[in-house]
């Protein structure tokens, strides 16, 4: 691989080519992570950037890390992200308008200043010598890493193990809700419902008299008003209730128009007549 010969001051043309193409894409990915309205898009952009970074790791002679980057980061962590995004709501888009006064300008100013400082720092540092990993990776990259991790860094390694376990336990503690009391029995629940005076019978079913039977359509109450209760709470929360109140009339109007076109009538019958006709059907 090209990276293996990168002990020289300059890298191969292939790597340069790869760097400029993929680097640009990585920056675009990073930018879209920040700028995309929907979290899911951000996550996908980030995943792309990470894959590119994995390639760069490989190019820099870090074979083990490159693979780990793909497997752990892109494979596991980003999926975890996507999972949470789904949990929270894929479609909910963030508003990108800023609510804290001056926050965006200050952030951009700080970011710009910090970037300039970092660039200046790197530019000023006398990074003239590149040793390359030729000798280090001579016995294989994984073996080299293993030798370091299990000798020089064994203590840190053990501690990170502990950290991981703690984090796992912590995540469980945070997300798990301990049941601190006996669950209520059916009887108690029904009694509770009677006591509270809330909706005693089962919730009404969605859909209106066979005209629609989709779950996202509200059923009508006897007086003709649609009832939100008939739609499942999840859909309600997502704001995905379909309003079909005007659909029947539109259908009728379209039907009449078509009929008139066919019959080449010009006059439209009065509305009350139509209604009687419909009723007779």
């Amino acid at each position: 691989m090209s990276a293996q010969f990168a002990a020289a001051y300059s890298t191969s043309t292939g790597e340069a080519f790869q760097f400029w193409i993929l680097g640009t894409v990585a920056v675009i990915g990073a930018l879209s992570t920040v700028l995309m309205k929907r979290a899911v898009h951000s996550a996908l952009s980030l995943a792309g950037t990470m894959i590119i970074l994995a390639v760069f790791y490989l190019a820099n002679g870090a074979y083990f890390l490159g693979i780990v980057q793909i497997v752990v980061y892109t494979g596991a962590i980003m999926m975890l992200f996507l999972f949470v995004v789904m949990l929270v709501g894929v479609t909910a888009a963030d508003s990108l308008t800023e609510t804290i006064k001056g926050q965006r300008w200050l952030a951009l100013l700080c970011g710009l200043g910090f970037g300039v400082l970092l660039f200046a720092g790197i530019g000023n540092a006398s990074l003239t010598q590149f040793d390359g990993l030729g000798t280090a990776n001579a016995n294989g990259n994984v073996e080299g890493l293993a030798a370091l991790i299990f000798t020089k860094y064994v203590f840190a390694f053990e501690i990170t193990g502990a950290l991981l376990i703690t984090a796992a336990v912590g995540a469980m503690v945070l997300t798990h809700r301990e049941r601190t009391e006996r669950p209520k029995t059916q009887r108690e629940l029904s009694e509770q419902r009677v006591r509270d005076g809330k909706h005693l019978p089962p919730l009404p079913a969605p859909g209106v008299y066979a005209r629609h039977n989709a779950v996202d359509v509200q059923g009508l109450l006897p007086d003709g008003t649609p009832s939100e209760l008939t739609v499942s709470k999840t859909l309600r929360d997502r704001g995905q209730i379909r309003d079909v109140s005007s659909e029947a009339l539109n259908d009728l109007r379209a039907l009449e128009q078509r009929a008139e076109e066919r019959l080449e009538r010009t006059e439209i019958a009065p509305a009350n007549l139509k209604r009687t006709e419909e009723a007779s059907k």
């Binding site: 002990a7 963030d94 945070l174």
Partner: protein, 99 residues
Amino acid sequence: MNPVNYLYLSALLFTIGATGVLIRRNAIVVFMCIELMLNACNLAFVTFSRMHGNLDGQVIAFFTMVVAAAEVVVGLAIIVSLFRSRHSASVDDASLMKL
């Protein structure tokens, strides 16, 4: 090409990530930006490793990944429980630090 360019790229990504942390309100995106910053650091470590011709930089990057993984686990757990109680993943909603 001078491999120093990797460092510039790393700096750029880090800055973008940092700015993202500051301007986004969705906690999940903020988290992603933090991941981006961590990855930018990792890139720098890997580059340093190549520069110095030893594997210490890669070991550090490896540890960074582990820590990042742990952090993501806990962070996402926090976000989930926040979302559960507040029905929102906006970091601005948690402005209880104000008296």
